[in-house]
Symmetry: C2
Subunit: 272 residues, 2 copies
């Protein structure tokens, strides 16, 4: 069971990152989380709108930790960002006071097949970015995505993939573990053990038995088939004691009252 103090809301759960849901402002979301005893909050760049520092200060003044920011632009693939765009995402995390900036890598490099060339490009871009992040007090955290997001969104699919790349890349490169992406992976526990203190995030949701949409049909904890407590134990056995961040991309949950969604999260904590 997770204590409320460890619990963080990722604002994607209310649709804030995609302009979906009730459209609550960052401040209104902060107030609603603080009123319910959430320990932290994780924002998306899209909702900061140049006010990163002010929103970070507002959250801390309300008694919440800012636990992270989502996310870097793509680093590989045909839609890869420039180095300046990557630096801008780090500057925004630093202004917000977010200790972690999540990385979604982007897809396969143009003109290549398989993953080797893309992972090499990824490591080459992350080395200087990790050094810059370290100087800013931000950790970059690689998030492995479910293999269904291969091709155009990621070249890192498992915690084992992430650890291997991180070890070859930079001592400060961290890893975020998301239930939705890794629940099926039999190698998760040993990979977490090897990751050790690189683990910088645990993202909670559930994998619904009949997932109807690969992007926007994540489940509330306990409504699906993932063994969430086993995943939590795997990261905790590796030494992780940090925030547990609820991140549910779901048209279903976005259609509900945000206050009810937050209450439901609290009701479902025993499932974690």
């Amino acid at each position: 069971m997770i204590t409320r103090d460890r619990l963080a809301l990722n604002t994607a759960t209310l649709g804030a990152n995609l302009g979906q849901g009730a459209g609550w402002s960052p401040e209104r979301t902060v107030d609603a989380c603080a009123a319910r005893g959430f320990g932290g909050i994780v924002f998306w760049r899209q909702e900061l709108k140049g006010r990163a520092q002010a929103i970070g200060e507002y959250a801390r003044a309300a008694g919440l930790r800012v636990d992270g920011l989502c996310r870097t632009p793509y680093l590989t693939g045909p839609d890869a960002s420039t180095d300046d765009e990557l630096a801008a995402s780090l500057d925004e995390a630093a202004a917000l006071g977010a200790p972690v900036l999540t990385i979604v890598t982007g897809g396969t490099e143009p003109g290549t097949t398989g993953l080797e060339d893309s992972r090499k490009r990824l490591a080459d871009r992350l080395r200087p970015a990790c050094a810059r992040a370290e100087a800013q007090g931000v950790r970059l955290a690689l998030e492995p995505l479910n293999p269904m997001f291969g091709g155009n969104r990621t070249v890192i699919f498992t915690v084992a993939d992430a650890v291997e790349l991180a070890e070859a890349c930079h001592p400060a490169l961290a890893i975020a573990v998301d239930v939705y992406h890794v629940w099926w992976d039999r190698t998760l526990a040993p990979a977490c053990a090897r990751a050790g203190d690189r683990i910088a995030g645990l993202h909670l949701c559930d994998w619904l038995r009949d997932t109807s949409d690969i992007l926007l049909d994540r489940g509330m904890m306990g409504d699906g088939v993932a063994d969430i407590p086993a995943i939590r134990r795997a990261v905790e056995a590796a030494g992780y004691t940090g925030p547990c961040e609820v991140e549910i991309f779901s048209r279903d949950w976005w259609s509900r009252d945000p206050g009810d969604v937050l209450d439901t999260i609290l009701d479902h904590l025993p499932e974690c």
Copy 2:
């Protein structure tokens, strides 16, 4: 490069398994494959309609191998079959003269989370089924599916998962390796080496960069981002010299003339 003699058509590529595409009969498909020098063919139970033996004889008389039959009913999950339904699928493979019957396991067992309970149930059902299959001259072949099919379709996601289950289950339990499902897996080559002569199938298609539908948007070999030759080398290094079966579930390819689809497959063989 794959020789035409090793090449087999899985009839799903023409939509036959789902009543899609041009609706060619098994015999017409056999004739079109034989005319183009394909070595073999793999059928789906739905198209046999009680004529398994006659269709098998027709294919062999036309000079084609019957390389397999798709597939067992689900063995786990809420939609799991009875033992009689499983036995009927084996009887049909034997009547067809198919040396391999593919297994799609089915989803997570009701009332459970994670995969351990489901895999135990799967092994318990497969042990007697493998013995029965062996007596009928048929090999049951576990097909790992992409993790996006977790929940309701499979509890086996990687060749490593399949090998571990097979070793704990029955010496005759085989494994089918499908490019679409495994292209992303960094552990594929060592898992194939461990599988050795359990590998009883190599299924060809491609993973399109922007996969628009998780079920029905597979790509023609060379049109996507999978490193198909590397996957073929991994199974061949394990000793596999058997058929290479083109299986492309795709609304796009089903909308085209089946003869053109078969010609395109031949044109794309250098991509394999």
